[in-house]
Amino acid sequence: MSGTKRSENRQPKLPDSTDHAMEHLRQQHLMLDPKPRGELNALVMESMQTVTWKFWLVVILLGAVVLVGLFGAWGYLIAEGLGVAGVNRPSYWGVFLVNTVFWIGISHAGTFISAILRVFKAEFRRPFTRAAELMTSFGLVQAGLSVFMHMGRVWLSYWLFPIPNQRQLWPNFHSPLSWDLLAITTYLLASTMYLFLPLIPDLAMARDRSSGWRKNFYKILALGFRGTEGEWTHLRTALNIFAFAIIPVMFSVHTIVSWDFAAAMRPGWNSTIFGPYFVIGALHSGMGAVVIVLAIVRATMKHMQYFIRAEHFDAIGKLMLIISMGWAYFFFNDYMVQWYGGDKYTDYLLHWHEAGPLGWMWFAMLVVNIVIPWAVLWNKKWRSNPWVVALVGLLINVGMYFERYIIVPISLTINRMPFTWRLYQPGIEIPLSIGTLAFFILLYVIASKLIPIIPVWEVQEGQMAHSLKKFGRETVVTVSELE
């Protein structure tokens, strides 16, 4: 507290007040490189309204993949039964649940970046909160779809919802799957509202600067926002409440997903550390996915070089490094406790992980989740290169996919009845996984042309109201005086 006071009183000393140094700072920091309001709005509007033939090509290709890989293959799966998938006697759960856990993991990035960084007033979040929040909602859609693909009789899935009905049936709330359903639904609703709230002023901005069908579209979505003092006060209050309230929801959702496994009496699953281990894993893959998306958005959309800069990749890179260390810590904890427990079947399982036919996956997971982030992300120069950070993010996502694959089908091959031990081989799960990925990208690509992907008002707020503070040797842009 006193430390903050002192730094407030003392004028922060910039590295060098020559023009050259100021110019350098301006190039580095979006907050120190302000543009007039009208110009910022125009940049964002133009990036959104520029639709080239390349965009349509991508949309058509992705749409074709979604139609065939997702809906076509799913229809075939429903008509034929799960025999066309790879699930079998010991591995009753397979890639569908790997995908569920994976996409819920991806969805953690949005909340982490936009809620936690908002609460902690980390200013570098401003230009890409929306890009991350979109991932949350669209990722959860894929997670939900994967759950339904996994079910044997998906046409009866409404039996899992607590709807008053004449069948006199009620879902079993003892089952972790019921908790799961409630947690995912809550998170999807909360994150969609949290995506929509800060979008309202930008939609109003777009409404005032567009014509034709776009104008009607934004008019409906902007809910008549005019930017009066009262409206802004309400918006800020709502955002503040949401930002704090959604953080426990985010932690709970992946903890509850982990309970699907941890509450079961299976060697390798029955581990009390699974809750936090899954949450940190979700953040690990989520942050990795955010940098991939940001690097692609920056490279393909107009004017994004101005909004998304090396400083942002640098900042996320630091977070990725810390989260990678956290993941390594929890991984070691989980492994250590299971190994030390000395249970015979857990022992078989741990050997199966490392020395079984898919042992390469276990080692690859450790390399891409720990070794590569630690080797690359300590270096500011590499961290500031979008494509380097995006590549590390991609590798982390591959590693986290391996991790979930090891936890679900590989761990299921070993159980207490050695007579049933058998390998799992994915079948129709492969086109369906590709279809889900394509559906995620398709939703994202379409959204990038429909809603302002940069939260303009937040960037403007940061550029207008910031001040500089010195923490150690680092000069930090902050608007903490605003509230």
Binding site: L82, N88, W170, S175, F419
Partner: protein, 246 residues
């Protein structure tokens, strides 16, 4: 008046430790002939999944004969055959995890029931079963003629996407109980048997009331060389395996 000491975590009355119906399988007598497996499939309308699916771990037998060996080749020694079926746990891990109440406990018979019509196919029960004895309908399997003429009318035919498992031939239990009730008497020990016990040529399988200390199955279970699979997990299995007897 309910004795609160008898109320378990789920609010239901805790079952008597010995259970009601039980089975004893004498592994010293079992020859591994698979007659029980065939009889079970006939009795319970279990489909034939075909060679390919069976090889991939999708056989749907409610009962299987597990065989193992000890030692390294050529010094290999067979261990006794182990017929494995649903252990009808008193405290069953499959039951609480089902989100749709499709796998439930029968208070009257003290057995685990599978309500096929309620099952939506999450397969969580099968994952949580330490004995791996639940079978899933991976597809709608065809029955080649003339096998389509031998369905047992007392047992529901299941469709794809549904979990199923051994019921201790509950249709036979009910038939025996109805018969006894009509004649105004109790069911006599040994009056009826599940399909597997009936078919066993070596009489290795004995079925009966565990809560009746005079029944053959209770006496065999008590005779000293009985083992219950993974009893240490607290599942209260109702099947006792006899091995290494005199």
């Amino acid at each position: 008046m309910i004795d609160l000491n008898q109320v378990g975590a789920k609010g239901a009355l805790v079952e008597a430790a010995e259970g009601k119906w039980g089975m004893v399988i004498d592994q010293d007598l079992c020859t591994g002939c698979q007659a029980c497996v065939a009889a079970c499939a006939m009795e319970n309308n279990i489909p034939f999944v075909g060679e390919e699916d069976a090889g991939y771990g999708r056989s749907m037998h409610w009962m299987r004969i597990e065989r193992f060996w000890e030692g390294e080749y050529p010094e290999v020694k067979m261990t006794p055959f182990q017929p494995t079926l649903c252990q009808q746990c008193g405290s069953a891990p499959c039951e609480p995890v089902c989100p749709a109440f499709a796998t439930v406990h029968s208070a009257a018979e003290q057995l685990n029931l599978q309500v096929y019509n309620r099952c939506v196919g999450t397969r969580y029960c099968a994952n949580n079963c330490p004995y791996q004895v639940r079978s899933f309908n991976w597809r709608d399997y065809e029955r080649p003629a003339p096998l389509d003429n031998q369905f047992n009318p007392d047992v529901t035919v299941r469709r794809r996407g549904v979990m199923e498992k051994c019921t201790f031939c509950i249709q036979r239990i009910h038939r025996a109980q109805d018969q006894a009730k009509a004649e105004g008497r109790e069911v006599v020990d040994g009056e009826f048997a599940p399909a597997c016990a009936q078919a066993c040529p070596a009489e290795a399988i004995t079925f009966g009331r565990l809560d009746d200390p005079e029944s053959l199955v209770s006496q065999l279970a008590r005779q000293g060389n009985g083992v219950r699979l993974f009893e240490e997990l607290g599942t209260q299995p109702r099947v006792t395996y006899l091995k290494g007897g005199a």
